[in-house]
C-alpha cells in the first residue's frame, strides 16, 4: 500500500461528497476555460498584428474618408516599405441581416502587404489583379455562404449606391484564400477599388484608410510623425498608429471585456474555494482518530502533510481537467456559429497551462490549513478525541 493509494482511498471514502466536490470544481474550470478563450479571442486582433504594420486613418475618426491622393504621398515617404488602401463597403448578402465584411482594395499592394497573413494561389492573384469585377473570398466566409471559385455573386451595400441607383454590385469570385496562421480571420472579402470607385454614385476619389509596412519596427515612431505632419492643417488630417494599438482601441470600444471575464471567473473560483476548503477541513476533522493511528504507526508529520495536500490537489485535478476538457469541447462546438463575431476563438495552450496552475493552487489553498492541522496533531489528542 503506497501513499498514493492512501490519498485515493481517503478522497473517495465518502463517494457522494467527492463527486459533488468534483462537479463544483468542474463547473468552475469549464467557466474559466470558456471565458478566458472569449477574452483572448476579443483581443486576438492585437496579437496577430505585425510589429511593423501601421494604420493611417482620418484624424476626426476612422469612419471619415481620406483623399486617394494620400496613397502616393505616403508611398513616397522614406521608411515606408509597402502601403495599401481600403474602403469599407458595408456589405450584405440579399438581406441586410446577412452582414458581410467586404472591402474595396488595390489588388497589387494589398497582396504584397498581406502576403504574411493570407495564402492566395498564384492563379488567383493574377485573376484578381486582372478582372474588373474579380473578388477574393476568405475560407471562413466561403464556407459560411457556400461560395466557390467561379461563382457570380450579387452583394449589396448598406452605404453606397451605384450610379444607376442600385445598391447591389456583381462580383466574380476568382479565389478563396486561407489564413497562414490559425489566428488569422478569413471571414471577409476583398474586391477591386477601381471597379468600386468608377461605379459608385458618391465619394469618388476617396478611400477609407491605409495600411502600411515600415522598413523596420524601429522606424515606426518616425514614420508616424512624418505622415501626420505631412497632412497637418490640410482639409483631411490623419492619425497614424500601429495596427496593434488601433485594434486595441477598437476592441475597447465594446467595453471592458477583460474585466467582465475576471469578475465572473473570480466569482466562480471564490465559490469553489469556500465549498472545497470547508469540505476538506471537515473531512480531515472527521479523520482525526485515523491520523492519530497513522502517526502511532510511525508516519511522520511531513508525510501526513503530503497525504492531505496530495488529496486536495488530486481532487482539484480530477475536477479541473475534465472541466477544461468540457470547455475545449464547448468552444469547438460553437466556433462555427461565432465566425462572424469572434473568428479567432480557440483554447490556447496558455489557457490550458494557466488552468493547470490554478488547479494546483486551488489544491494547495484548500488543503493547506487542514494539512498543517493534521501534521501538528498530537497522537494523544487525536486518539482521545471523537
Amino acid at each position: 500500500m503506497n501513499d498514493f493509494m492512501l490519498v485515493r482511498k481517503n478522497l473517495f471514502r465518502k463517494k457522494l461528497r467527492a463527486v459533488l466536490m468534483i462537479v463544483s470544481i468542474l463547473t468552475a474550470f469549464a467557466i474559466f476555460g470558456v471565458l478566458a478563450s472569449f477574452g483572448q479571442a476579443f483581443n486576438a486582433g492585437q496579437d496577430v498584428a505585425d510589429a511593423d504594420r501601421l494604420v493611417v486613418v482620418n484624424k476626426i475618426n476612422f469612419t471619415q474618408p481620406l483623399p486617394i491622393a494620400y496613397f502616393n504621398r505616403v508611398r513616397a515617404i522614406s521608411g515606408v516599405r509597402q502601403v495599401t488602401h481600403f474602403n469599407w463597403f458595408g456589405g450584405y448578402y440579399q438581406d441586410p441581416k446577412n452582414f458581410l465584411i467586404v472591402m474595396a482594395v488595390e489588388p497589387t499592394t494589398y497582396l504584397e502587404l498581406y502576403g504574411n497573413d493570407v495564402d492566395v494561389s498564384a492563379d488567383a492573384q493574377q485573376a484578381f489583379k486582372r478582372g474588373r469585377t474579380a473578388a477574393l473570398v476568405g475560407e471562413a466566409m466561403a464556407k459560411k455562404w457556400g461560395l466557390k471559385v467561379g461563382d457570380h455573386v450579387p452583394i449589396s451595400s448598406n452605404i453606397f449606391s451605384q450610379k444607376n441607383g442600385s445598391h447591389t454590385w456583381d462580383f466574380d469570385i476568382v479565389g478563396v484564400f486561407t489564413g497562414k496562421k490559425p489566428q488569422i480571420d478569413t471571414n471577409f472579402m476583398v474586391f477591386q477599388y477601381d471597379y468600386f470607385d468608377e461605379t459608385r454614385s458618391f465619394g469618388k476619389d476617396f478611400i477609407g484608410w491605409m495600411a502600411l509596412r515600415t522598413a523596420s519596427p524601429s522606424l515606426n515612431d518616425g514614420v508616424i510623425k512624418t505622415i501626420d505632419q505631412l497632412f497637418a492643417n490640410s482639409s483631411y488630417e490623419t492619425a497614424t498608429d500601429t495596427e496593434k494599438a488601433f485594434n486595441k482601441a477598437f476592441v475597447a470600444q465594446f467595453g471592458n471585456i477583460a474585466l467582465i471575464v475576471v469578475l465572473v471567473v473570480g466569482a466562480a473560483f471564490v465559490t469553489i474555494l469556500m465549498i472545497v476548503g470547508n469540505t476538506m477541513a471537515l473531512s480531515v476533522r472527521e479523520r482525526t482518530r485515523e491520523i492519530g493511528v497513522l502517526k502511532t504507526l510511525g508516519f511522520s508529520g511531513g508525510r501526513i502533510l503530503r497525504l492531505v495536500l496530495g488529496e486536495s490537489i488530486l481532487l482539484a485535478l480530477i475536477g479541473g481537467l475534465p472541466g477544461l476538457g468540457l470547455a475545449i469541447l464547448f468552444i469547438l462546438l460553437i466556433r462555427d456559429s461565432l465566425t462572424a463575431i469572434l473568428p479567432h476563438i480557440n483554447i490556447a495552450p496558455e489557457i490550458v497551462l494557466s488552468g493547470l496552475g490554478l488547479m494546483v493552487a486551488l489544491g494547495v489553498v484548500t488543503g493547506l490549513i487542514p494539512a498543517l492541522g493534521a501534521m501538528r496533531l498530537k497522537i494523544a489528542a487525536a486518539l482521545g478525541r471523537g
Partner: protein, 395 residues
C-alpha cells in the same frame, strides 16, 4: 393533521437552531448562492439598462426617414430634394407659424477619449436643423445654453460628458481642423441622445465638407396614426426610395441585438455557476443530515414520522438559499445599480447607459436561488426521511 404540523414545526426549528454547528459549511453555501445571483443579475441589469436607454429614446409620434436598406443613421444618405418632399408629406405636424416640424440631420462619427480605458472611441456628432430639439421630447439644457445658429458651437449630452474626456462646458474641441466651443449640456430623459454631440446642421455640413448632404429626416407626426399615411405617400413617389419608421421602432430594432446578446451570456453563465453552487448545497445538506443522524433517529424512535425530518431538511436548505439569494440581489443593487458604462451601438457609435436592476429581475435571481435550494435540499431530505432508526441511533 395537527400533530404532524407540530412535528414539522419542531423539527424545522431544530434544524435551523443547529445551523451554528455547521457554520462554515452553511456560510459557504450562502456565499456560493449569492455569487451565482450576483453574476446573473449583473448581466440582466446591464442588458436591461442598455435596452431602457434605447427604448426611452423613441417616441411613437416621431418618424425617422432613412435611405432604403441602410438600417442605421450612420449609413443613410438623403438628398435635399428628398428632404423637401418628406417635409411636405401628409401627417407632418406644423409649428404655429405653419412650418413643418421636421429636422434634416447629418450624423457623423468623431473621436473622443473614453475615461475608463483612455482609448479613442466613436462618438456621434449630429448636425440638427432648427426644429431638431422640438421634434424630440424632453430635451432640456441643464447647463449653459443652446448653440447659436450659424456658429461653431456645440452642446453635449449629459451621459457623454460623464463617460468621455474633454467635453466640459466652455472647453474647445477640435474635430480634424474644425474648432468648436462647448456652450451647453443637455438632458434627454435618459435617452440615447444624451450620448450625442449636437451642432447646427449648416455649420457641420460646411466644416466637414458635406454641403447639401443629409443623412436622416426626423419629423413630428400629427399623431402616431399618421405614420401609415406618410409611409404610403413615400411608397407611391418614385423619388422617395426611403424607409420610414416610427422612432420607437427604430430604436427598438437597435436595442434588441445588443441587449439580447448580453442576456444570452448572463443566463448560461449563471446556470453553469448554479451547478457548482448546487453541488455545494447538496454537500452541506448531506453533511447536515449526517451530523444529525442520532437526533433524527431519536426523534423517529420516540414516534416522530419521516415527513417532519424531510421538511426540516428541505426548509434548512431553502433558508440558506433564500438568504444567499437575498444577499446576492442586495449586493447587485448596491454595487451595480446605476453604474454607468458604454458600448458600441448599432449606429457604430458609443451608447452610454446605466445598469438597471428592477424588482422583476431581482425576482428572477431569487427564483434561481430557490431552485438551487430546492434541489440541494430534496435528496438529502429524502435520505433524512428514510434513515433507518437502529443504525442512526448507533451514530
Amino acid at each position: 393533521m395537527r400533530p404532524l404540523l407540530l412535528q414539522v414545526a419542531a423539527v424545522t426549528a431544530m434544524n435551523i437552531k443547529s445551523l451554528s454547528q455547521r457554520l462554515w459549511l452553511s456560510l459557504s453555501t450562502i456565499v456560493a448562492v449569492a455569487l451565482v445571483v450576483v453574476v446573473l443579475l449583473a448581466f440582466l441589469a446591464m442588458g436591461n439598462g442598455f435596452k431602457r436607454t434605447l427604448a426611452s429614446s423613441g417616441s411613437p409620434d416621431v418618424a425617422v426617414v432613412l435611405r432604403g436598406g441602410s438600417q442605421s443613421e450612420v449609413n443613410s444618405v438623403v438628398t435635399r430634394d428628398q428632404v423637401r418632399l418628406v417635409e411636405e408629406g401628409p401627417g407632418v405636424a406644423r409649428s404655429t407659424d405653419g412650418k413643418p416640424l421636421a429636422s434634416a440631420e447629418l450624423y457623423l462619427v468623431v473621436d473622443g477619449v473614453k475615461r475608463s480605458s483612455r482609448t479613442k472611441a466613436n462618438l456621434p456628432l449630429r448636425g440638427i436643423g432648427k426644429e431638431g430639439a422640438a421634434v424630440r421630447k424632453g430635451i432640456r439644457i441643464t447647463e449653459g445654453r443652446m448653440f447659436a445658429p450659424g456658429s461653431n458651437e456645440i452642446v453635449v449630452g449629459k451621459a457623454l460628458l460623464r463617460e468621455f474626456e474633454g467635453f466640459e462646458l466652455g472647453r474647445m474641441v477640435t474635430f480634424g481642423t474644425s474648432k468648436w466651443t462647448i456652450v451647453g449640456v443637455f438632458e434627454a430623459d435618459g435617452s440615447v441622445f444624451e450620448s450625442e454631440i449636437w451642432a447646427d446642421l449648416p455649420v457641420v455640413q460646411s466644416l466637414f465638407r458635406r454641403e447639401n448632404v443629409f443623412q436622416t429626416v426626423r419629423v413630428r407626426l400629427a399623431g402616431p396614426e399618421a405614420l401609415s399615411g406618410l409611409k404610403s405617400y413615400m411608397e407611391t413617389d418614385p423619388r422617395l426610395k426611403l424607409d420610414v419608421k416610427s422612432e420607437i421602432e427604430y430604436f427598438a430594432d437597435q436595442a434588441s441585438q445588443t441587449s439580447d446578446l448580453i442576456q444570452k451570456l448572463g443566463w448560461p453563465l449563471a446556470v453553469a455557476m448554479a451547478f457548482g453552487a448546487l453541488a455545494g448545497a447538496l454537500n452541506t445538506m448531506y453533511s447536515s443530515v449526517a451530523a444529525r443522524a442520532v437526533e433524527i433517529a431519536t426523534l423517529r424512535a420516540i414516534g416522530f414520522g419521516g415527513f417532519p425530518a424531510f421538511v426540516g431538511t428541505l426548509a434548512e436548505s431553502m433558508m440558506l438559499a433564500v438568504i444567499g439569494g437575498a444577499i446576492g440581489a442586495l449586493a447587485t443593487f448596491l454595487i451595480f445599480d446605476g453604474l454607468s458604462a458604454s458600448t458600441l451601438g448599432a449606429s457604430f457609435t458609443q451608447v452610454v447607459f446605466s445598469f438597471q436592476l428592477t424588482p422583476e429581475l431581482a425576482a428572477e435571481g431569487i427564483i434561481l436561488a430557490l431552485i438551487v435550494g430546492l434541489i440541494g435540499g430534496l435528496f438529502p431530505a429524502v435520505r433524512a426521511a428514510r434513515m433507518p432508526i437502529v443504525a442512526g441511533l448507533y451514530g
